[in-house]
């Protein structure tokens, strides 16, 4: 028996190894959300990111001058906007005080730099040099001055990995800023689209898309992109909207993590509501 098995192994070991390793891959694929697997992943990418951050620093120095010029321009534009918004803010506060509204502004931002990126067409992720030590948690939105970048997925001590908008696993509830229509935004591997929008809905090319108030991931409205075109779906009843993101996901280097995850209280309320159905 042993001789037979030994003979089989000698003659077919490539195929046996192939089959076993494919099976192992499939088992690992099914264990992606296992907390222990997440822990191992956090240790692995945290250790590797320590090295990549050194190399990334060297390359980012060369881009500093260009980035400085862009920041100066953005600063000037923002200064003008701030002075306008300050006036609106005063009026807004007075009106909110009159109506006894809760203040929802003033979200803390954690600055971070991208130390490495995985530019797969479908699984676009970025590694950030901010982690548990900086109070980063999974689920926190990643933004820059242009708009939404992605969502933190895994967190190690000093680093974190975020899924960008160009990741097929990231689905986001978004809203047309003008018509207030909600939809699900997703990356197909080729384009960023809002799916299953009824043909009768009021959406126009050039409309701004922001994260929705009903999003279970993002707590406040953040600019996402602009409507490029409105295309008929295969069924004829629903269409899909192509969206061009505001942020250039391939060249972005410095980002902010919005240190706020969706309120657990709201989640629990919603969960209880659905349980009662």
């Amino acid at each position: 028996m042993f001789r037979f098995l030994s003979k089989v192994w000698t003659n077919f070991r490539e195929y046996i190894a192939l089959v076993l390793l494919i099976l192992l891959s499939l088992i690992i694929l099914s264990q992606n959300k296992n907390p222990n697997v997440q822990k191992i992943r956090a240790i692995a990418f945290g250790s590797f990111a320590t090295i990549t951050s050194v190399i990334s620093d060297i390359f980012s120095v060369t881009n500093l001058q260009r980035e400085n010029e862009e920041l100066r321009e953005t600063n000037a534009k923002l200064m003008l906007q701030v002075s306008r918004l300050r006036e609106f803010g005063i009026v807004n506060k007075e009106l909110k005080d009159l109506l006894a509204f809760k203040d929802t502004t003033g979200f803390p931002l954690i600055p971070a730099s991208i130390v490495s990126r995985s530019l797969s067409m479908t699984q676009n992720t970025i590694t950030l040099n901010a982690g548990k030590k900086d109070s980063v948690l999974p689920g926190m939105p990643v933004i820059n001055d242009k708009g939404f970048i992605g969502i933190v997925n895994s967190v190690a001590e000093d680093f974190s990995i975020a899924r960008t908008l160009k990741n097929v696993d990231l689905r986001l509830t978004v809203m047309d800023e003008r018509s207030r229509i909600n939809g699900i935004l997703k990356w197909t591997g080729e384009e960023l689209i809002i799916i299953n929008i009824p043909n009768t809905f009021d959406v126009e090319t050039g409309d701004r898309i922001i994260t929705s108030d009903v999003s279970s991931i993002v707590p406040i409205p953040i600019p996402v992109g602009i409507v490029e075109d409105f295309r008929q779906g295969e069924t004829g009843v629903f269409s899909y909207i192509r969206v061009k993101p505001f942020a250039d996901l391939t060249s972005v280097e410095n980002v902010f993590i919005l240190a706020k995850v969706k309120s657990k209280q709201i989640d629990n309320l919603e969960l209880n509501f659905y349980r009662r159905q």
Binding site: E14, S25, I28
Partner: protein, 162 residues
């Protein structure tokens, strides 16, 4: 013997470091060459098919862990890519397959297999346009990888006895 075992892994970590920090700078419309695959094909041809299969699985597993992609997806695609590359590891043709343009052709075939399997596992759903998916994600990135592998043919690194 020990050095022979360690070399592919040292190479892997150096190449992966370059892959995730420097290579994005030469991306064309978001498409980048896969340096890890080039090194996998090289080691698979220079050793044997069994070695290539196991090495592919190890490379894929570490890529999934470090880059944050769907765990198991690269492992599966790189296992099959390593197995395919191992087919070209016949004793008489090893040297030719590594030191001529045939190497780029093998890299292209393996990259195509790798990209197709990875794309299907990570991005496939009902609304996906399969032809567009194969063209943009598999064919273009495989061509880019094969072109970059031409540089490897002229490098002094590959000139060694097996």
């Amino acid at each position: 013997m020990k050095w022979e075992l360690i070399t592919p892994f040292i190479t892997f970590f150096v190449v992966l470091l370059v892959q995730i920090t420097v290579i994005p700078l030469i991306a064309i419309a978001g498409i980048i060459p896969d340096l890890v695959l080039i090194s996998l094909v090289y080691f698979s041809i220079s050793r044997d098919q069994y070695y290539g299969t196991v090495l592919g699985a190890s490379y894929g597993f570490f890529i999934d862990l470090i880059t944050g992609s769907l765990l198991g997806s690269s492992m599966l695609s790189k296992t099959i890519a390593g197995f395919t590359a191992g087919y070209f590891s016949t004793e008489t043709k090893k040297d030719i397959n590594i030191s001529t343009y045939i190497f780029s052709l093998i890299v292209f075939i393996c990259a195509l297999i790798d990209s197709v399997i990875f794309s299907f596992f990570s991005a496939f759903d009902v609304q996906t346009n399969i032809i567009k998916l194969l063209f943009e994600q598999a064919l273009l990135s495989s061509l880019y990888t094969a072109m970059v592998s031409i540089l490897f043919i002229f490098s002094p690194f590959r000139r060694r006895k097996f």
